[in-house]
């Protein structure tokens, strides 16, 4: 009997805690229950972490050409040697080309005479960390000349694993910066249209309609083709970002406009106006916070579209270009039948694109459910 009572009391405690929880805390609780979204969030944290520390995590310099190991298939660390003995410290064998395979069909044979142990925190190629200090420590490595190519090498003998890590920095940030810009334009124009209505609204509506009528990909393509080829890589990067976001703000603007329109006549807004609050204050202090979660969700779901856009443009050769390493630029190497069949590992950057986009979509879904106060879950 008494047991039942404590249980009752506990439950009412939980109810009370929920009743007094802030909306943000409620959202977080709802989000936590979405297991897939939490996993997606973890994956994203991991990927962004890898992008931030790519100099340290990558065992090779992304530009270094290993002339002896051109188009080398992935070489993982081994634990068992050629005589079947187990080694606690993993190692890689040296590789030599099979001379019988001929010039075009490259074939690598393990050379068990040359053993390179794989160790943690080894010295490797020098790098400059975030432009702050120089270092030569890497998370793992097998010393100079060791063919430790986790994902194989490309046609110039560059380590694909290191290049994917460096590419993550570009591919993952382009979506974020682009969405930031999209956010700004979308809220500004959508807000103006919804708050003032009338002519502003009609003008913005027409603009959205026109931009939506022109199919996105060809528009991206023609605008990217307009970026001059002599521009330095960094400027091209920003150019591509701006192009992606100039076309992407329409969806967000429509959401914001609709919200403003319906909220303009709400009691709390009228009350604020009667109390003499300025327009800027009403918009940013009273109206915007009430649907910020929806906007953030929309933005999260917009990031993958940008990442896919960058990948597609770079794949076609009109987005980012060669000295810059992004996943789309890397995928460009796997464009034709020969490359795909001879060196299928060149498709691996695509796997990273898929995982990233998947994670963003799942997190966005979870956030949408969490932000919706009427959701049944």
């Amino acid at each position: 009997m008494s047991e039942l009572k404590t249980q009752d009391r506990e439950e009412s405690n939980v109810d009370q805690a929920l009743a007094f929880a802030s909306p943000r805390r409620l959202m977080w609780l709802r989000f936590r229950r979405h297991r897939l979204a939490v996993i997606g969030g973890g994956v994203l944290l991991l990927l962004y972490g890898a992008a931030a520390f790519c100099e340290f995590l990558a065992p090779h310099d992304p530009e270094q050409r290993h002339a002896n190991y051109v188009l080398c298939p992935p070489q993982g660390p081994r634990f068992i040697d050629s005589e079947g003995r187990f080694h606690l410290v993993p190692f890689v064998y040296g590789l030599r080309q099979n001379p019988e395979a001929g010039e075009w069909a490259r074939e690598y044979v393990a050379d068990s005479a040359r053993v390179y142990p794989v160790t943690f925190f080894t010295c490797g190629p020098r790098y400059e960390m975030w432009g702050l200090f120089e270092a030569d420590r890497h998370l793992f490595g097998a010393g100079e000349g060791a063919p430790l190519f986790l994902f194989g090498t490309d046609e110039l003998g560059r380590d694909l694993f290191s290049r994917i890590l460096y590419g993550a920095r570009i591919s993952l940030t382009i979506g974020l910066i682009g969405v930031g810009l999209t956010f700004f334009i979308g809220i500004l124009l959508g807000g103006l249209a919804g708050y003032y209505g009338g002519w502003t609204d009609i003008l913005v509506q027409r603009l959205i309609e026109i931009l939506m009528a022109v199919p996105q990909l060809p528009l991206w393509m023609s605008l990217s083709a307009a970026l001059p080829a002599y521009w330095p890589p960094l400027r091209i990067y920003f150019g591509v970002t701006i192009i992606l976001s100039l076309m992407g703000w329409t969806g967000l603007a429509r959401v914001v406009r609709g919200r403003f329109l319906s909220m303009r006549e709400e009691d709390f807004v009228i009350a604020a106006r009667l109390a003499g609050a300025g327009e800027i204050k009403i918009i940013f202090k009273h109206m915007l916070p009430s649907f910020m979660s929806h906007v953030i969700t929309a933005a999260t779901l917009a990031v993958p579209a940008m990442i896919l856009g960058e990948t597609a443009l770079s794949f076609l050769g009109i987005g980012l270009r060669a000295p810059v390493v992004s996943w789309g630029v890397l995928l460009q190497k796997a464009q034709n039948f020969q490359a795909v069949t001879m060196a299928p590992w060149l498709l691996l950057p695509g796997l990273f694109v898929v995982v990233t986009v998947l994670a963003f979509n799942v997190v966005g879904d979870g956030m949408r459910d969490a932000a919706d106060p009427y959701s049944a879950h």
Binding site: R206, E209, I210, M212, A213, V214, P215, L217, P218, L219, M221, S222, L223, A225, A226, P228, P304, L308, T311, A312, F315, L316, I318, L331, A334, Q335, F337, V340, T341, P344, L347, G350, V353, V354, V355, V357, L358, N361, V362
Partner: protein, 327 residues
């Protein structure tokens, strides 16, 4: 209804005009024009090009006129059904585009039918048996399908086709039929090649539609009228097909309209990868080579098709869903 359609058509005119200006601006954006890039090519080959030749070329393509005049001439030609002249191919744009539209139509329609055939039943099943094993599987597949760029899928299929079956995936015909006149055998050959591009092009739409179908049907199934109908003894199968599904199917109809613009651009990158004789690669090439009339005509056609498609969808939606009324 007729009045509504008429009003919508009239409203399209200013939108289309604005789009045409936008398109014209975009194709003028890249520095230089096709003559300058042509000249560079010729000079690289060691040929001398005289001043007169250059002016003659510029004269021929109206490149000396001020931009507004160029725009008006282009529009005038378009109204007469003349889309201009492709400098890259030395052919009129009309002859280039129609040649490829047929194949594009074939692939797009096959892809759409395929995606509906898969998405519709799977979406309905997922909603009716929520959280079943097949639902989880379908959801996972749809999420991955949405996250995979179609060109990547094409590349993976290429690799698997070679590794497992030893076939070279790509193109619409085997080499021996490519230049051959039409025959029964050629048609069979086409059909055996068609399914891969159709699958690749249709995948993203398939995944998206399945998710939407599932979500919409789930929303409908929770409504009181479904419960009421069940309580009155309507058989579940008949009930689902007759009421909630009819409402949940709306997104299928609203996306029919997008098929039209999809015809030209949707499969552009996939077509490049799979070397298909469709409009996509041509559009891409024209954009990269600043073949302005070809690119401009493509872009404008795409936009017109999008606007028309949206209208078509709205009309179809009104026919299918009696709840939709027009002011």
């Amino acid at each position: 209804m007729l009045k509504y359609i008429l009003r919508r058509v009239l409203m399209m005119i200013p939108t289309l005009l604005a789009i045409s200006v936008l398109v014209f601006t975009i194709i003028q954006l890249p520095p230089g024009d096709i003559i300058t890039s042509r000249l560079q090519e010729l000079e690289a080959e060691g040929q001398d090009v005289s001043e007169e030749q250059i002016t003659a070329l510029r004269e021929r393509y109206n490149l000396n006129d001020p931009l507004p005049v160029q725009y008006l001439k282009w529009m005038g030609g378009l109204l007469r059904g003349d889309m201009g002249y492709s400098m890259m191919y030395g052919q009129s744009v009309n002859s280039l585009i129609w040649e490829r539209l047929g194949y594009t139509l074939l692939i797009t329609i096959t892809a759409t039918l395929l995606s509906w055939l898969v998405a519709l039943p799977l979406g309905v099943y997922s909603a009716l048996r929520q959280y079943s094993a097949l639902d989880y599987l379908a959801t996972l597949a749809a999420l991955i399908g949405l996250a995979t760029p179609s060109f990547l899928l094409a590349l993976v299929l290429m690799y698997l086709g070679y590794e497992w079956f030893g076939i070279a995936v790509g193109g619409l015909f085997s080499p021996e039929y490519a230049g051959a006149p039409w025959s029964g055998a050629k048609l069979l050959d086409l059909l055996s090649h068609l399914w891969i591009p159709a699958l690749v092009v249709g995948m993203a739409g398939m995944a998206g539609l399945m998710r939407i179908m599932r979500a919409n049907l789930l929303d409908e199934l929770g409504k009181p009228y479904v419960m009421a109908a069940l309580a009155r003894g309507l058989s579940p199968v008949r009930l689902v097909i007759k009421y909630p599904m009819r409402i949940a199917i709306n997104p299928f109809i609203s996306t029919v309209g997008w098929l039209l613009p999809h015809l030209i651009s949707g499969s552009a990158i996939t077509s490049v990868v799979l070397s298909l004789p469709t409009t996509g690669p041509l559009l891409l090439e024209s954009l990269m080579n600043q073949d302005m009339y070809l690119a401009g005509s493509f872009l404008l056609m795409l936009s017109v098709l999008t606007v028309l498609g949206t209208l078509l969808s709205d009309i179809l939606l009104a026919v299918a869903d009696p709840r939709i009324r027009y002011e």
